[in-house]
């Protein structure tokens, strides 16, 4: 059945709530309103107010209480609305979530998911448009998921909810209304496994979230120019599936990383460093990054679009390697 990314995420939550009554949902405006993007619509009606709760605007308490709930056996799937707001709870996520088990011992585990909507969405401005995955990639102990399609989003969220480890789940706002065929039967997608979205032989593009779509557009253009592009979606940024990426590099010998976060200290910075360290002898050129400009994302839409990557910029980056 054709479903949107938003519906797929909502379905994943409902299915997991039916599977396990320890799964609870809370966050800003998730109950009656069904979240500002409509993701959690229908959950309150089906599961009642004990299983889904609106919280006050209190990100540190949302995250902090999820730690407590998960510690004692609940499986909270919480929501922070905009990923930008995760920074309000930065200490809770960075220090507490990723380290809780390490610090307190193997008796402790945190089966919790933090869902967040991220990315540019035509004029949302500098504080409601950020892609902040890379900030958390620096923290040991976190699992970071950033799906690029409805099918992946559903399968990955179900795995995230079932995981005994804390998962940050980043949803791209521009993807919410994209549709994909979703099977009727239940399925999950393992965390930590990348997906090759398009096979190619000349260059590997590692693209994240919405940028997977942009990379696929670029691949079409480049195919006409005689360049065969392989597009890899890591899907899980941490732990990172090196095997799939390295195997691709052994074939193509060229790498472009595409992300929507800022270039400096971004996902591409980490991947480029890792790839040159571990794959130097396979590289036939530098690892090239395509990322957002190092500016706060402007409100003006023309300037916003200028600041983030698109197919054309990806094409230029790929061509610079030949």
């Amino acid at each position: 059945m054709l479903k949107t990314y938003a519906q797929a995420i909502g379905d994943a939550m409902k299915e997991e709530m039916r599977n396990d009554d320890n799964v609870i949902v809370f966050g800003e405006d998730v109950a009656e309103f069904g979240n500002i993007f409509g993701i959690t619509r229908g959950i309150l009606e089906e599961f009642g107010p004990d299983r889904i709760k609106n919280t006050p605007i209190s990100e540190t308490a949302i995250v902090g209480s999820a730690i407590g709930a998960a510690t004692v056996g609940l499986r909270p799937c919480i929501e922070l609305m905009y990923a930008d707001f995760a920074l309000v709870a930065f200490s809770e996520i960075y220090h507490s979530i990723g380290k809780w088990r390490f610090l307190h011992g193997p008796e402790y585990k945190l089966p919790l998911v933090i869902r967040m909507a991220m990315g540019s969405s035509f004029g949302a401005g500098a504080e409601h448009s950020n892609c902040v995955e890379s900030l958390f990639m620096h923290a040991p102990g976190l699992t970071i998921v950033s799906p690029s399609s409805a099918y992946d989003a559903k399968g990955l969220l179900k795995s995230a909810i079932r995981s005994d480890n804390p998962v940050l789940f980043f949803e791209h706002k521009q993807l919410y209304q994209t549709k994909e065929e979703i099977p009727e039967e239940e399925y999950t997608i393992p965390l930590g496994v990348a997906d090759i979205k398009r096979e190619g032989t000349d260059v590997t593009i590692i693209a994240v979230s919405l940028m997977v779509k942009k990379a696929l557009e670029a691949a079409e253009i480049l195919a006409e120019k005689g360049i065969s592009v392989e597009v890899i979606d890591p899907r899980t940024l941490a732990p990172f599936d090196k095997d799939t990426v390295f195997e691709s590099i052994r074939k193509t010998h060229r790498v472009v990383v595409v992300e929507e976060s800022h270039k400096t200290g971004g996902i591409g910075a980490e991947l480029a460093a890792m790839i040159q360290e571990e794959m130097y002898d396979e590289l036939d050129g530098p690892v090239v990054r395509v990322a957002s400009l190092d500016v706060p994302l402007p409100y003006n839409i023309e300037m916003e679009l200028h600041s983030i990557p698109n197919a054309e910029k990806i094409v230029t980056a790929v061509e610079s390697l030949f």
């Binding site: 609870i24 004990d50 709760k53 919280t55 006050p56 209190s58 990100e59 540190t60 308490a61 949302i62 995250v63 902090g64 209480s65 999820a66 730690i67 407590g68 709930a69 998960a70 510690t71 004692v72 056996g73 609940l74 909270p76 200490s91 809770e92 220090h95 507490s96 809780w100 088990r101 390490f102 610090l103 307190h104 011992g105 193997p106 008796e107 402790y108 585990k109 945190l110 040991p140 102990g141 699992t143 005994d164 480890n165 732990p239």
Partner: protein
Amino acid sequence: MTYSKDFLVKVYRDLAELRMFEEKLVEAYAQGKVPGHIHSGMGEEAVYAGTLATTKDGDYYKITHRPVGAAVTLGVSYETAFSEAMGKSTGNSGGRGGINHISELSKGMLGFSGSLGCDAAVGPGAALKIKKDKTDNIVYVYYGDGTSSRGPIHEAMNLAAVWKLPVLFICQNNQFGISTHISRGSSVENPGADRAAGYGMPSKIVDGTDALAVYEATKELVDDIRKGNGPAILEAKAYRWRGHFEGDQTPYRDAKITEEWMKKDCVKIMEKYLLDKKVVTEDEIKAINDELNDEMNKAIEFADNSPAITADEIYDNIYA
């Protein structure tokens, strides 16, 4: 209020045990056996001995860095506690977490943060489980007067109040946030109790050097919480005898005031009460202390002789 001998001896024993644990920790630290830095809780033992006299099975606890000996009050073995403090493989996290993470889930401990206050909402989170299970258990969340100024404390209290969760917040007011006196960190006199009104919570202020007074005030609040009436704040006033960390010579405060407060020794107060009321004899007091001393010395020796984890093992316990 009248108490049974068993109850009184238990409260005394908790006080003596916590005091001794803190003393031994200072000693071990001075001998270079404890990495990092420790935060002695001497002088504040009654806050724990009193509040924890109200617990029942199934309750949860979120303690703080001071005094970490509260973990042994809650049932963590001396061996585990000293091993963790000394960074040894025999500690609860194998020495990965250390002094500020002496904790066992099987004892109801939720864990606690070195980044103060960021763990406050852990209590309300655990309380959701209590609500789901529909028991009359509660969560004890301890925090200090210094931490009371941190935002997450506010968010946690607000969330607990708005969801009417069974949480007792215990503001352990020892008057200092490192060197800053609470009068310069809070515009109200009672940074715990005075703020309760802002969340529509009941509160009590109690002398934190009198274990029985702490018990009585706590019991009143706890009984109400167990009935499902939502969270409350207890503020226990005490004094931090030692510096924030070992080596802190406390030049920022008047030594005479410290001396005065040290006369209000919660262990001695309880001891005098028991002897005056002839609940116990001096011999019994000595026997209790000798036993504690013996067991703790053995535990320290055990910890001292325990190995550290190996380099290969540092990656364990990151992911479940």
